[in-house]
Symmetry: C2
Subunit: 141 residues, 2 copies
Amino acid sequence: MFRLSKKVEYAILALQFMSSKQGELCSAKEMSEILSIPYEFLSKSLQILMKKGIVESVQGVRGGYQLSKPADEITINDIITALEDNPSIVECLSHASKEEALACIRSEECSIKNPMIKLQQQVHNIFKNTSLAELSENNLK
Amino acid sequence: MFRLSKKVEYAILALQFMSSKQGELCSAKEMSEILSIPYEFLSKSLQILMKKGIVESVQGVRGGYQLSKPADEITINDIITALEDNPSIVECLSHASKEEALACIRSEECSIKNPMIKLQQQVHNIFKNTSLAELSENNLK
DNA sequence: TATAAATACGACTATTGTAATCGGATATAT
DNA sequence: ATATATCCGATTACAATAGTCGTATTTATA
């Protein structure tokens, strides 16, 4: 519980790798081997990150991926929201339940809804305030 | 992903309820009905919270549970760590993998271990700095 | 002292979400 | 042409979470 998914973990590893290879194209295969990540699994995530504008891809021989913007402009929150449908800390705060209206039985009179929203904002703020670049800096310390 | 478990969510609801009934014993049955929580599921959590010293229990007829300390001395972190074995934001930071040594393939040269530890500390700080009492205050705002 | 109402506790099942895999299509440098 | 890459949907495998069941124990009170 309260754990980042492998999808996100792997994405962070790969994005950090690309960041270190500034400009060069990195193939999914290369990264999967170096970072010990299942190739198919990583590929799928990279494709999503591409659609979300976080990485750019070049197809064909000698193709690969590269960051589409500087590492200090990519936040952990960007990565999480790109890969996860419902990054809410409790089920009732997810998009799905908002639409379905009755997902939470306690609904209107729920005594922890507002507090949970506040907690969630705090957690998300951490992710919004941490960039890929900072992550790599922290590694050196 | 990155979601509090139902176990924790229900526990927060129940503890908040007990906090509002200061001093009175609250039975698991009563709380499960009022808060729409499966009785067996809630009971189990309450028993764990009892062992961890967060609530006190009285057995037998007219028995029940009550907070063992003021609501402002119980943090969300206390509740989470009582109920969850491994509150780590990535698998490799869990107690289990520390012991088993090889749980993380990247192990020593992992480029995101330190950054993840820092992120985790920030998240945990939020939970450590939020008490049950504050949670209820937030609800009124 | 029998009974009903409560906690205590382990084992089990069901459901869901995550992780991983598979098969095939498309693009492109050489 | 071919090898190397991305692209993409479908499927399977696995693990974690959520929920249930059965039974034992405790205790107020009628």
